[in-house]
Amino acid sequence: MSSKSDPIISGVGQSAVGKFVDRLPLLLTIDAIKDALDNAGLRVGDIDGVATWPGRVETMLDMGPVGCDGVIDALGIKATWYNGAFESAAQYGPIAGAVAAVQQGWARHVVVFRTVCQGSARRKPELFPSVQPAGLSGGMEHIIPYHAYSAANWTAQMASRHFHDYGTTREQLGQVAINARRNGALNPRAIFRDPITMEDYLSARMISSPLCLFDCDTLSDASTAIIVSAAETGADLKNVPIRIDAIAQSLPGRYSWDQPVEAACYPTGKRLWELSDFTVEDVDIGQLYDGFSFLTLQWIEALGFCPVGEGGRYLEGGHRIARDGVFPINTNGGQIAAGRTHAFGYVREAVRQLRGQAEETQVDRDLKLAVTGAGGGPLAMAMLLARD
């Protein structure tokens, strides 16, 4: 439950973000870490913990180009705790690990990073020579052989079923994309800065029905760093500490993108409120995973902003999720407009909003509590961030 001893986010930082950033993955990562250190008012010598997801993954170097050891070596960090691992409830796994490390006293200041080079890997594949596995496994052997290569295909299956069961429409789902592009237009760091209309959305080319081009985020080069620190360090920081009120994760029995089991966001959303003294009514702002717009709809339902099945109607007209609405979401443009920072961009934006430091994308009201959800299908973690 909420406590003054909860770990805090002391700093957030980000590298240049783009469809192609001509910079080595390790240096991109260090750009983000330096920015986060400056934001916190800390020096490299203050850092004693390092964490990342998924770590360096030899079979997917575009997704996992940099591990903890590379960063520790490059910066000469004297680490008393570090962890980088793929098998985790979602991209926020290393943040949960850092919270545990700080609470246990294993470290005082943990730098947590997420680096993606999916843009560069498309342009310069020779720099990302991933090892090809002998065959598909882990459940994917029953999905990908059917030319279902992308999470767009897997998510489209869930979306088509939601449309069928609850009468959800493309016009409703489209509000997630339109909202993202409207917010992205305000964000000088966004990849797409031109807003789109409903007409644009409905006439866009289909990727995997019912998901069109605007329902999908874009492959990016980006590194985002978050510094998780012990509560007692908060007084010495450059900026207002943001308290990590709760982190929830769950996997309801099966890890699968295609078997008949509810998406992991649903039990995770319920779990989040069991772990906090806050309720859904207390939330001021949301940063919800929009690798695909349909995942955002699921997070809105899962976190209890509306009943399951009502996500489409909640989005209708787009006014609730707009920056002047009851629940402004993805205020920097989310991943749909600002690029696939792979969830960590939401944490950076939430912290900046809560501190009133979001500049062009700042929501003009007193913000105390932000919720963020990361992942889709069997991956789900949710987090409440509070300014006390």
Partner: protein, 133 residues
């Protein structure tokens, strides 16, 4: 046609990829409590029995969810094509991701009755589905 990405075949799942050679669709089942186990695994999650064995199923089913893919994800991929999840008649709590093929594939709707047809590639038989009526 673009080759299908290849599954890692192991002693537990080999039957699934070979059964189509005889025109059969087989799903692993716990012989102790009757739970269907897919993807195949060597222990029943319900009763922890290791007595698991493939059983031949009817090969008929219903479209549970469907998407028409338009994006050429890999070079040479011919689009559009249909990816679906099929619920198998008589097999509880299992869905098969598959392709719907045949003349009516692009009109596939949730609830459509379909039956299995196999496509062989390099000694593996992939279960695809086509409209029944």
């Amino acid at each position: 046609m673009t080759p299908r990405p290849r599954p890692l075949v192991d002693p537990v799942n080999q039957f699934f990829w070979q059964a189509g050679k005889a025109g059969q669709l087989q799903i692993l089942r716990c012989q102790a409590c009757g739970t269907w186990l897919h993807p195949p695994r060597p222990i029943c999650a319900k009763c922890l029995s290791e007595e698991v064995a493939p059983e031949t199923v009817s090969g008929t089913g219903t479209v549970y969810s469907v998407t028409v893919n338009h994006q050429p994800w890999v070079p040479g991929l011919k689009v559009p094509y249909v990816i679906a999840r099929v619920s198998l008649d008589g097999v509880d709590d299992v869905l098969l991701t598959t392709n719907i093929v045949g003349e009516r594939a692009l009109e596939s709707r949730i609830g459509d009755a379909v039956h299995v047809t196999f496509e062989e590639q390099d000694g593996l038989w992939f279960p695809l589905f086509t409209h029944s009526r």
